[in-house]
């Protein structure tokens, strides 16, 4: 699973980095940023879903990997 923030929609509410600081951080203006390449470490999928479900702007996309493993 990967997480992505749509920066057009993000308004800096900060729910993602409040709830899941391992996957998201704030930038110098408070907008959410994905840490690293956004790949969710195994076992943290629930946390990623929680962050996405709490974003008031619906700015977080979860990209589920489909099909075969890479």
């Amino acid at each position: 699973m990967k997480v992505h923030i749509d920066s057009e929609r993000c308004q800096g509410h900060g729910r993602c980095y409040d709830l899941t600081p391992g996957l998201f951080a704030d930038d110098e203006e408070g907008y959410g940023q994905v840490i690293g390449d956004g790949v969710v470490p195994p076992g943290q999928e629930g946390q990623a879903r929680l962050a996405a479900a709490n974003c008031p702007e619906r700015a977080i996309e979860l990209l589920e990997e489909t099909g075969h493993d890479r």
Partner: protein, 423 residues
């Protein structure tokens, strides 16, 4: 003595001038039908707006009023969100619904940028302030906020009944914002008057209202000039030097932003802290659970924000249009009730209950879209710390007299008298 020409106008002079704009007839008194004659300034709304909103949501869902020169009240989350996002058709040039409309040419800047600004100007004013209000930036206020909360509770020594609104909740944001702006901490009580004049004095006669608003700007100008003479590391000095498009701000823009921070930062957090304590005072199960599980507090804070969202904003309709069945006219108000959106059962399960461990909580207490509350990280910190310290220091507490609890009228709603019995 250092002087900056932008701030040398005699505030008494400008305060006496009648501002341009349009006035509507002041209509007060009992509401005949909330669907056609609503007023957020009547005592019934202040006391408990939620049943009114719920009734409107089912039978309306966009209410109208002829008061304030005409306005609309959407009650569904979906409609509130759509209007918040639609800055093309709904202007923020004035965000407090009352009997006066600022002239149209005040847009897109408005009287107190960025809250009163529309695109494209809005983002420039907002960008100026964002770095000062990030979660990281406001965390620097946390230790001082916590020790200030402790000092307020120290002062309860020997009292069985305290006013949690007047003696606790109110003081916390006042002190924090005074510190951030670099104002003397003992000026706090004066801020309270400014806030009340602006937010609750909506139906005062215009002359009286402008005199009162003049007092606030007189105070701000004095603070600005003090900072021009002796610059320091605070928001006031930052705003005096700040530039947009390579130019410093106009004098009235600087004081406009300061007024905004003062007004928007105090009543709001005061209300949120008070409402959360009101809930806990009458819900022993939630109180004891939070005392036992402090780790749950950030989740509970979100639920308090959802269920008791203190802030309602306003917009002005730009052009005549039919919007989702409502026949809107240019310059009609929209009362943009985030509290109503937050109680919409189409958006939230058990919308009318306070569920302190609600895990998924996509509430709109801080608004939606480009005007997301600039101070939301500060407000969350204040609310969390205020509750943390309260729960840590005060054991059991309950409403001393439920009938003595009063709530503010207008667009910022929270307890203004909250007598609690401590044990």
């Amino acid at each position: 003595m250092t002087v900056d020409d932008r701030f040398t106008a005699d505030p008494g002079e400008s305060g006496d001038e009648e501002p341009e704009g349009t006035r509507s007839e002041i209509i007060t008194g009992p509401v005949s039908d909330w669907a056609t004659d609503f007023s957020h300034l009547e005592p019934e709304w202040a006391a408990d707006p939620y049943p009114i909103q719920e009734d409107l949501r089912q039978r309306c869902p966009i209410a109208h009023t002829g008061r304030f020169g005409g306005g609309w009240l959407p009650t569904r989350y979906e409609d509130v969100a759509a209007i918040a996002y639609d800055t093309d058709r709904f202007s923020s040039r004035q965000i407090i619904m009352g009997n006066f409309r600022a002239p149209r040419d005040i847009a897109p800047i408005g009287g107190s940028p960025p809250i009163s600004s529309d695109p494209p100007f809005h983002q420039h004013a907002r960008k100026l302030l964002l770095p000062a209000f990030t979660k990281t930036a406001v965390s620097r206020q946390e230790a001082a906020t916590r020790s200030f909360c402790h000092s307020l509770i120290d002062a309860f020594e020997g009292q069985d009944v305290v006013d949690a609104a007047g003696d606790y909740a109110q003081h916390i944001p006042m002190r924090v914002i005074a510190d951030m702006l670099g104002f003397p901490p003992q000026d706090g009580p004066q801020f309270r008057e400014f806030v009340e004049d602006l937010l609750e004095g909506i139906n005062l006669p215009p002359d009286e209202r402008f005199t009162r608003v003049g007092r606030l700007f007189e105070y701000l100008l004095a603070q600005v000039n003090e900072h021009v003479e002796r610059p320091r590391e605070d928001l006031t000095s930052y705003l005096i030097d700040a530039e947009i498009f390579g130019r410093k701000l106009e004098g009235d823009q600087v004081t406009g932003v300061m007024a905004l921070l003062l007004i928007a930062g105090i009543d709001t957090s005061w209300s949120a802290i008070g409402a959360a304590l009101w809930h806990l005072a009458r819900t022993p199960a939630d109180r004891s659970r939070l005392a036992a599980e402090p780790g749950l507090l950030p989740t509970a804070v979100e639920e308090f924000l959802r269920a008791f969202a203190p802030v309602t904003m306003a917009r002005l309709v730009k052009e005549d249009m039919n919007w989702r069945g409502a026949d809107m006219k240019a310059d009609d108000w929209i009362l943009l009730s985030f509290p109503a959106a937050n109680r919409d059962p189409a958006q939230f399960d058990r919308a009318d209950e306070v569920v302190i461990d609600r895990a998924v909580n996509r509430h709109a207490a801080f608004g939606l879209g480009i005007h997301r509350c600039l101070g939301s990280h500060l407000a969350r910190m204040e609310l969390r710390v205020a509750l943390e310290v309260w729960l840590e220091r005060i054991g059991e507490f309950s409403l001393a007299d439920p009938a003595a609890v009063t709530w503010s009228a207008g667009q910022i709603r929270g307890p203004r008298a909250l007598p609690l019995r401590l044990s």
